[in-house]
């Protein structure tokens, strides 16, 4: 009941002080979860002997175990969603229907990858949907002026990158909090789209762009272009984050930006690049979305920022930065995407689906916390 205990709980996993207790805790889950390549058997023993002064090469096992648990929860959720959808609709397990389902979340999922990296370093970008609107607007104006498909793709990506660089400049060069900056640029970018478009829509797009957004890359397993791009980008992002020094730096920045700076990581440059990447991903989403629906309206992609943040947070990325994995985000994308698709198959209104997704977001985070609290209570 005392206030200090649970408050202290979260940061403990990063610090050296609670080692004896931590050793007890991760002694329990290890037998259940054999982690490949983590020398599970070797480490606990020395950790117990010189617990206070051990500095591990890698993260403490407890964190990794937690993340595995998190991804296990998501896998179970995904299985439950698929089982539920199969039982409520006979049309769910159809290759063509499923391929259709991926189209509806692939564009958001692409942006979720860069959003995951941003949240991982303790930043956030709420302007992504507005960047999509702005990029789509400029593409529309260019298309009306007669620019071809390839030119439009370049323009979409460039507008996204410039908008992202603007965010990055405000955050890193002027030192403003990213949440305020991107709330501001969200209004600014979408406001510009509204000023130019008014209540009009641009619907004149070349066939090539529509083909890109609507067709599939292979025909036999019908793999839509946007989904294929998402999968490729997810693999690349996953490798960069989990297998390169760049990825390790992102975790370092997320856990302690000041310490990261002192250890020689160019924190601001990395932050800036991540904002540009976030803009670039939004530009790519704008290209795919504009091609798919073949029009640009001021309310294009409205509210996507919250859906994308939901994907990332449900994927296990800590909103305060420093932890999270790409496989987790990918799983969350599927959980959310397939839940939405399955329920809309049986004509549940979108707004009611949102209730379930909101409840899912809170309970997915609350339940493990409650369970861990109970386990700790029993352990005493």
């Amino acid at each position: 009941m005392s206030v200090s205990e649970p408050m202290a709980e979260t940061p403990l996993s990063h610090t050296a002080a609670p080692k004896p207790e931590a050793a007890e805790v991760h002694g329990q889950p290890t037998p259940e979860q054999p982690t490949p390549g983590q020398q599970t058997a070797a480490s606990p023993a020395p950790a117990n002997q010189s617990a206070r002064y051990t500095v591990l090469d890698r993260k403490p096992f407890r964190l990794i175990d937690l993340m595995l648990t998190w991804e296990m929860i998501l896998v179970l959720l995904l299985v439950a969603v698929i089982a539920m959808n199969t039982s409520i609709s006979p049309y769910f397990l159809d290759v063509y229907n499923l391929s259709d389902a991926t189209v509806n979340f692939s564009e958001k999922a692409i942006v979720a990858l860069t959003m995951a990296l941003l949240i991982l370093v303790g930043e956030i970008d709420l302007s992504i949907a507005a960047i999509i609107a702005l990029a789509s607007l400029i593409m529309g104006l260019a298309s009306v002026a007669g620019v071809g498909t390839f030119g439009l793709i370049v323009i979409g990506l460039a507008v996204g990158a410039v908008a992202g660089a603007f965010n990055g400049f405000l955050v890193t060069a002027i030192g403003l909090p990213s949440i305020v900056v991107t709330i501001g640029t969200m209004s600014l970018f979408r406001g510009i789209a509204q000023v130019v478009l008014g209540d009009q829509a641009i619907t004149k797009y070349p066939q090539g762009l529509q083909t890109l957004g609507q067709s599939t890359i292979f025909s036999l397993p019908p793999l839509p272009n946007s989904f294929f791009i998402f999968v490729v980008l997810a693999i690349v992002t996953g490798i960069v984050l989990h297998r390169t020094t760049i990825g390790r730096r992102l975790y370092a920045i997320g856990n302690n930006p000041v310490a990261a700076r002192f250890s020689g990581i160019r924190v601001d440059r990395i932050r800036f690049v991540l904002f540009v990447l976030s803009g670039l991903a939004s530009g790519l989403a704008a290209v795919l979305l504009t091609g798919r629906i073949g029009s640009t309206r001021p309310n294009i992609a409205l509210g996507w920022e919250l859906e994308v943040v939901t994907m990332v947070v449900l994927g296990g990325v800590s909103i305060s930065g420093g932890s999270g994995t790409i496989p987790g985000v990918v799983l969350a994308v599927f959980v959310l995407g397939l839940t939405t698709f399955g329920l809309s198959l049986v004509n549940v209104p979108g707004i009611v689906i949102n209730v379930l997704l909101g409840a899912l977001l809170i309970s997915a985070i609350a339940v493990p916390l409650v369970v861990r609290g109970i386990m700790r209570g029993l352990g005493r």
């Binding site: 206030v3 002027i174 709330i183 501001g184 209004s187 943040v309 947070v313 949102n354 909101g358 609350a366």
Partner: protein
Amino acid sequence: MTQIVTRRELVLAFIIVAMVLLIGVRAPVFLSFDNLRFVVTDTSVLIMMALAQMTVILTRGIDLSVAANLALTGMLVALLSRALPGLPIPVVMLVALLIGAGLGLVNGLLIAGLGIPPIVVTLGTLAIYRGAIFIVAGGAWLTSKDMTEAFLAFPKAEFLGLSSLTWVALVVTIGFYVFMTLTRTGRGLYAVGGNPVAARYCGVSLRLSQVLVYTLAGTISGLAGYLWVARFGIAYADIGIGYELTVIASCVIGGVSIAGGIGSVIGTVLGALFLGVVANALPLINISPFWQMAISGAVILAAVIVNTRSEWKPQKLILHEARRAAAGGQK
């Protein structure tokens, strides 16, 4: 330090007055008493919501669910007044306050009790409350035909030349001013936001403060829900959609630091008035209302840049003072 804060608010007040006068040059009707009264009435709900949001942001939190709470409470009291047309308006308002408080308390308990980050909790409840409107009303819209005369009359009533909305906003503002400046709990919110650990040692609990501010934000949203629905005579799932960002924008323009611990009642009221003046002036000076969003975005960025610059001083205050002392009191 008090002087710096006051100066910033003075600058903002000066900008608003200058803006009002400039607009008056283009469209003299804007300066008429009736129009200014309307602008204030129109901004009343925003002022109340911004003040409540300020207390949340002071504790380093954020409440994205306020607009959804407003819409859900508005829908529920509209349904209530349709079911029980004889219910006196003070009771309806009390019910609105209680529903709003309950919805806010849910946020507070999830945040303080389980330690889930505020942005995650309120993002979730935002979706849940919005959807709940659709569910409780069966997807229907309630229009003024479904509401009683008395229900609709309150926001249009006038006392002593000012609209009832203005009076409510005035009472709420004075209440917040007294609370934030003169009560121990109110001062404690600054302490919690400025340094949670130090505040804990001084006996100010972060968790109790969190429960308090989210419940407070919910209560005000509930009240605003009744006022909104009764004023416009319509309730449906999408009313006030995206309004939470306007509310947060008012706070930011008014000098509330998103990092917590800094912000004042007067500044927040001025921030809300600024946005209210912009929104009401654009149609009068023949600028397309589509500009409103772009302008408020640009203003948020400008305000946060200015505020961050001036926040640097308080942060380095001790060093500053020490250096000044070392230099023999010169500069």
